[in-house]
């Protein structure tokens, strides 16, 4: 069985899944499901669970996957066990939503206070502010003013004071 961690709406869900002939076996929270799945045209699959055929609609954007099944819309990322996931820790600051960078208020190498404004992203007449989560040094900046950014895009990295800019994280 293959161990999978699905980040569904941002919450980790552990599942086991494996092919068994024409079927796929999926274990979720101790329950076992035997399903068949077939492609059904662009962006569509049919999921057979027992005698029920369910139409799935799927879309993929970068690491994000969207699924519509049985009246529900799910957004999912897959944590790949083959690759150690960069700890999306306090150091990586990402754009909270797609939009335009209206302000960049720091430079690389600059020391920042906790809560200090680093970057302002504007979308649909709403401003969203990216702040330093703790004291540190701006190790890198990945956006410029006026630039269009995608939701979740890396905008800046904060490292501990004293660490060299551009250094590697453990």
């Amino acid at each position: 069985m293959r161990d999978l961690t699905l980040l569904v709406h941002g919450s980790p869900v552990r599942v086991e899944a494996a092919r068994d002939g024409s079927e796929i076996v999926v274990r979720v929270e101790g329950r076992e499901h035997r399903v068949r799945i077939e492609p059904a045209g662009p962006s569509a699959f049919v999921l057979w669970t027992g005698a029920r055929a369910l139409l799935l609609h799927v879309a993929e954007r970068g690491d994000r996957r969207f699924l519509h099944a049985d009246g529900h819309t799910l957004e999912c990322e897959v944590a790949d066990p083959g690759r150690t996931r960069m700890p999306q820790g306090a150091g990586d600051l990402r754009a909270p939503m797609p939009g335009v960078v209206t302000r960049v208020t720091v430079r690389e190498g600059e020391e920042v206070r906790p809560g200090q404004v680093l970057v302002v992203v504007e979308a649909m007449k709403m401003e969203h502010v990216v702040r330093a989560p703790r004291a540190g040094v701006v190790r890198s900046l990945h956006v410029r003013e006026g630039e269009q950014v995608d939701g979740g895009a890396l905008v800046a990295e904060i490292g501990p004071v004293g660490a060299a800019a551009g250094g590697t994280t453990p």
């Binding site: 999978l4 709406h9 799945i37 662009p42 962006s43 954007r61 099944a69 799910l74 909270p96």
Partner: protein, 499 residues
């Protein structure tokens, strides 16, 4: 043949274009750059670019819109809602340039669009208003003194405003100066005028509004009320008609108040009078929206009246039938937004990769999107509206729940799951909706994790793991003879480059 310039975008532009086509009137769309392949552009009989992308230099620019009307050979201009729809200056500029404005005369707009003026006009008509201050003297001291008289909590509102902008809820006196400053700043940037009024905050109320049509011959009719209490940050999410909190007797009194006020103001075309309804059945005049409302379809569903069609017919001089229409059944509207309800309703613009809109008995979808369209970040997050009608409120709720289940929209985050939760909530089913409904029942809401969805995601992962490794000719479980089983995956991956 008459030509209407549709000075808007999104679902409302589509709605106006459809009405034009049904009346045999030519329609010409306008568009900013991010909208060049938007549905309203593709549906109209012609389309004129406004250049640029930001709202100020496109859909909000009076000179650009007038230039577009000239290029389109238009003789009428429909403003939709939002953007310039409530600008008396725009309505006057349209008229002065020789076009017919599909809306009220600019004088009536100016009279009613100003909250302070409208309150005084309502009082003259004997309509109760929310206790407040619109005294004209705009000093900090004058506001502080008026606020002491009114009591806290209270609302600071932009006198020229609407739509929740320039509005602040103030809990106690020490917060008032900052709220005044902030509201004034927002009001200046949104409406070009910083004048403010104060209103006592009435707490849990129903937000009820009366739809009115008035023609050029002096006929003014009420088409009944809508309830729009389910709101987040003063923005409506679910609306319905009739209101579960309005009796036939109250409906009559609300209708009389609304028509009296608009008659007094010299109003023509479609307009909406908003009221707050307290727990004891008392109503208070709130404001007039001098335009078509987003939620107009619930009134269309319960009266059978094509409001946008009548806007155009009134503008062309046609008289209204003398008797108001009967109200039949119940209608609910859900607004589908590109936003993330689990993250404070943050806007979530982006691409639409898959779109399947619901249909079936009693279901209507007014949509401004299509598969392959990228929802621009520059404008409002409203994507579409689902309207469900049935003979009873219970039936309309059941139809809405079914339609929302069937709605497939993938590629950007939407509030579709949230809407299902709202429609399915016991308090909503019981009709216990007040303006505090979402705050009371949905704070900290998270989308569900249905097991069948998790199983599907896991099964898709297994399938995906098999796809790239497939050597040519190797025997694999092939579910369907003749078709390439990986075609769907390639379709799935097509959009992968642009996150």
């Amino acid at each position: 043949m008459r030509t209407v310039l549709v000075a808007n975008r999104g679902e409302i532009a589509v709605r106006v274009i459809r009405a034009c086509r049904e009346l045999g009137v030519r329609s010409v769309a306008v568009y900013a750059e991010p909208d060049r392949d938007a549905p309203h552009v593709l549906l109209a009989d012609g389309a004129v670019p406004l250049g640029g992308a930001d709202p100020e230099s496109t859909y909000l620019s009076i000179p650009r819109i007038l230039e577009a009307a000239r290029r389109a050979g238009a003789d009428m201009v429909h403003p939709g809602y939002g953007f310039l729809a409530e600008s008396a200056e725009f309505a006057a500029a349209v008229r002065d340039a020789g076009y017919t404005f599909v809306g009220p005369p600019p004088e009536a707009m100016a009279r009613l669009g100003h909250k302070g003026n409208a309150r005084r006009l309502a009082q003259r008509c004997g309509i109760p208003v929310v206790p407040g201050y619109d005294g004209g003297e705009e000093t900090r001291e004058a506001f502080l003194e008026a606020a002491r008289r009114l009591g806290y909590p209270l609302l600071v509102k932009a006198a020229a405003g609407g739509g929740g902008r320039g509005m602040r809820l103030v809990a106690e006196e020490r917060d008032l100066p900052e709220a005044l400053e902030g509201a004034r700043r927002e009001a200046r940037s949104a409406f070009g005028e910083g004048a403010l009024i104060l209103e006592r905050h009435l707490g849990a109320c129903r937000h009820v509004e009366v739809q009115v049509l008035a023609d050029t011959r002096g006929t003014v009719v009420s088409l009944g009320e809508r309830e729009c209490s389910v709101q987040r940050r003063h923005q409506k999410v679910v609306e319905e008609a009739p209101s579960p909190g309005v009796s036939p007797d109250l409906r009559e009194r609300l209708g009389e108040a609304a028509t009296a006020l608009l008659r007094e103001a010299g109003y023509v075309n479609a307009g909406t009078v908003e009221f707050l309804l307290d727990g004891d059945g008392r109503f208070y005049f709130l404001e007039v929206n001098t335009r078509l409302q987003v939620e107009h379809p619930v009134t269309e569903a319960t009266t059978g009246v094509d409001l946008v069609g009548w806007q155009l017919r009134i503008a062309m001089g046609e008289p209204l039938p003398p008797d108001p229409p009967a109200i039949r059944g119940h209608a609910i509207e859900c607004r589908v937004y590109a936003e993330d309800p689990a993250r404070e309703f943050q806007p979530s613009p982006g691409p639409i990769d898959v779109l399947v809109e619901p249909s079936g008995p009693g279901i209507r979808v007014d949509s401004g999107i299509r598969a392959g369209f990228r929802v621009p970040a520059a404008y409002d997050p409203l994507l579409a509206k689902v309207i469900a009608w049935d003979l009873t409120r219970e039936g309309a709720i059941r139809r809405m729940a079914r339609a929302l289940r069937d709605y497939v929209l993938l590629g950007c985050r939407t509030n579709l799951e949230f809407l299902q939760a709202v429609i399915g909530h016991e308090a909503f089913r019981r009709g216990e909706t007040t303006t505090r409904f979402l705050a009371e029942h949905f704070a900290g809401w998270r989308p569900p994790l249905p097991e069948v969805g998790v199983v599907a995601l896991a099964a898709l992962e297994v399938l995906r793991g098999e796809a790239p490794a497939r050597p040519a000719g190797r025997d694999r479980p092939s579910p369907r003879g003749g078709t390439d089983p990986w075609e769907a995956f390639r379709g799935w991956r097509m959009g992968a480059g642009r996150a």
